[in-house]
Structures are given as structure tokens and as C-alpha cells.
Symmetry: C2
Subunit: 207 residues, 2 copies
Amino acid sequence: MQLKKKGLLIVLSGPSGVGKGTVRKALFAQKDVNFQYSISVTTRTPREGEKDGVDYFFKTREQFEQMIKENKLLEWAEYVGNYYGTPVEYVEKTLAEGKDVFLEIEVQGALQVKKAFPDGLFIFLLPPSLEELKNRIVTRGTESADLINNRMKKAKEEIDMMDYYDYVVVNDEVNLACEKIKAIVTAEHCRRERVAQMYKKFLEVES
Amino acid sequence: MQLKKKGLLIVLSGPSGVGKGTVRKALFAQKDVNFQYSISVTTRTPREGEKDGVDYFFKTREQFEQMIKENKLLEWAEYVGNYYGTPVEYVEKTLAEGKDVFLEIEVQGALQVKKAFPDGLFIFLLPPSLEELKNRIVTRGTESADLINNRMKKAKEEIDMMDYYDYVVVNDEVNLACEKIKAIVTAEHCRRERVAQMYKKFLEVES
């Protein structure tokens, strides 16, 4: 009998500039993290310290467009003049092996992945500025009405983005955000639907 | 403006003898646990080392039946000739203060609590014997068919009980079970429905 467990697809996303890359790096620097990082493909030039095959697979526009044509990308997006994408093969192979796969991608891409993997675990990283804004307003700060109104507009857009996600983690402190992400993955492995399904399957097969 | 967050009601339950009390004690012996234990009321005699007001509130049958009459119990059950119950006042007061409340109760009681608090967090503690049984069968053990059939029947009953719960934690190792329970609580505080609701409320009020 085969009782193979499929891995979880974990997607970390959030507004641009929220610090997704920093959290992802801190997470994978920890020893007790046993999910696999799926490296993205991009056409942008490497930033200082970034290595090909570690931070990204760096490709030319021609190479990237070829991957799109051949359906080799789970999701892709053009962002500030550069392409970003996730190679589909690695994700499917690793999940089938029962290992959890971790993606760190832009919001546009996350929505595409949700269509292909509705059972994935979608985590929204929230800017601490939003949390600060809330606290400031709640405690009746002294900011001008205009300034607050502008911030509220932007906040509203970011909050609306949350709706497609399962979890929200405030990135106020990188280590704290990492702990929360690890807890979310641990908890998801304990979800009754996942556990019961496995047990029921083994009873059906045998009885 | 009031943005008061209500606490989570966490219910740990599972089949008799699974070790709910042991896990609860180990959990509350840890320093980073910041949920409140709701002490149960019982008519059974204290076991060695058990203290009134710490492990249970020990009451007479008359006192207990009075509490039932006065609707002072969130749930109660008679089990092997003794009453067990949860005082409702402490639970409601503590949740309203924004603190998480932890109950460790029998399966019958958990179903009653679910009716009153459908938003509660219901965690099912699974006997390691079931996990072992599964592994033994999966790896095609050498046990007799009768013995396996009997165990399968009991396993089926226990698995059917899971259906009312949100999470399942195998009690193979107490510390591991504690870690998982803590992770589940952390993750639940990050659930989008809870977080987004709070942010949306603050935007509505202000804008």
C-alpha cells in the first residue's frame, strides 16, 4: 500500500518593499527549516552579493520568453521592466516527493499560483508601517488629516490584497516573522482535513 | 475607538487515556505559553498530588448539580460515575479581556463547547498507538488478522471522532505535542480572517 503524503506548497508574498527577500533569507539560514526553496528565474541584473542558482537563475529576455512559450513557468510577471518567474518542474517534482516547497514571489504571481494550486498555503507579509499606522490612529495621534487620509488610502489597497491569502504575518521583526511562518507550516501539517484523509485512506484500503 | 481583540478559545480533547492531562501540564510548565488555563470542576476524588484550585475545583455532587441548575457550566459530563465540567464565567471574562483560554476536556464536553463557541480552536490528541497501528499495517506487519481487525475497529471509532476538530496532534512525544499546540495557536492568530477583520474595522471607522 502506498500512503504517500504530498508536500505543502508555501507561498510568501506581499507588497513591494515589504522585505520578502530578507525574511526568506533569514528563514533559510535557520537549521530547523525543512522546506525546500524554489529559486525564481529573472531577467534583472544581479544585485551586489547575489549569486546565480542561489538567489535567482539569471536569464536573458530571450531565454525567459522561450520558457514562457514552452510552458515551463508556474507563474511569471513583468515588473519594473524585468521578468520574474517560477520554474514549474522543480515545484511539481519536490511536492510529489512529499517535501514542502517554499516560493517567495510578487503579488501578481501569487494569484497565478493560487489558480494552479488552490490547496497551497498563501502567506501575506504585511508592512509594519500599516500596523504602526493603525496603532497611531487608534491611540489618536497628532498627524494632519491629509497625511492620515493618504496613508489610509494606501493601507486600504494593501489590506484588500490580503483577501486572497490564508495567513497574514506582520514584518515588524524579521526573526519574529520567521517564527510565525514556521508555526504556520507546522500547524498546517496538523490540520484535521490533511491528517484524517490519510488515516481514512489507510482504513479503507485495509478493511 | 475600540479595537479590542477577543481571545481564542483553545480546546484540547481526545480519547480517554491519550494523555491530555500530561500534555496540558507539560504545556503550562513552559515559560512562553501565554494562554490561560481554565480549571475544570469535578466530583471525583483527587489523585495523589492533585490540588484543589490548581488541577481541578473539587466539589460534591450536590454542589455540582447546583451549578448545572444555575447554568454556571459551559459544558459538563458524567464519566465513570463522576461529574466533570467547565465554569462558564472564567472563560467568558478571560476571552473578553483579549486573552486566550485553554480547556482540556473529554470528547463529550468538547462537542458541547463547539456548539457554544463554533469559532473555538479544537485540537484532537491522537493516541500514538493509532499512528503505530498505521505504520505497522503499512509496512505489512506479521500480526494476526483478528488482532488487526479488532484494532482497526477501535481505530475507526477514534478517527471518526476527529471530524469535529480543526487540528490533530499525535501524542507520540509530550514535548513534540506541546510544540505543535503552541504552533497551532500562533498560526491561528495569523489567520487572514482574524487579522483582516481587525484592519478593515479600523479603516471603516476612520474613513
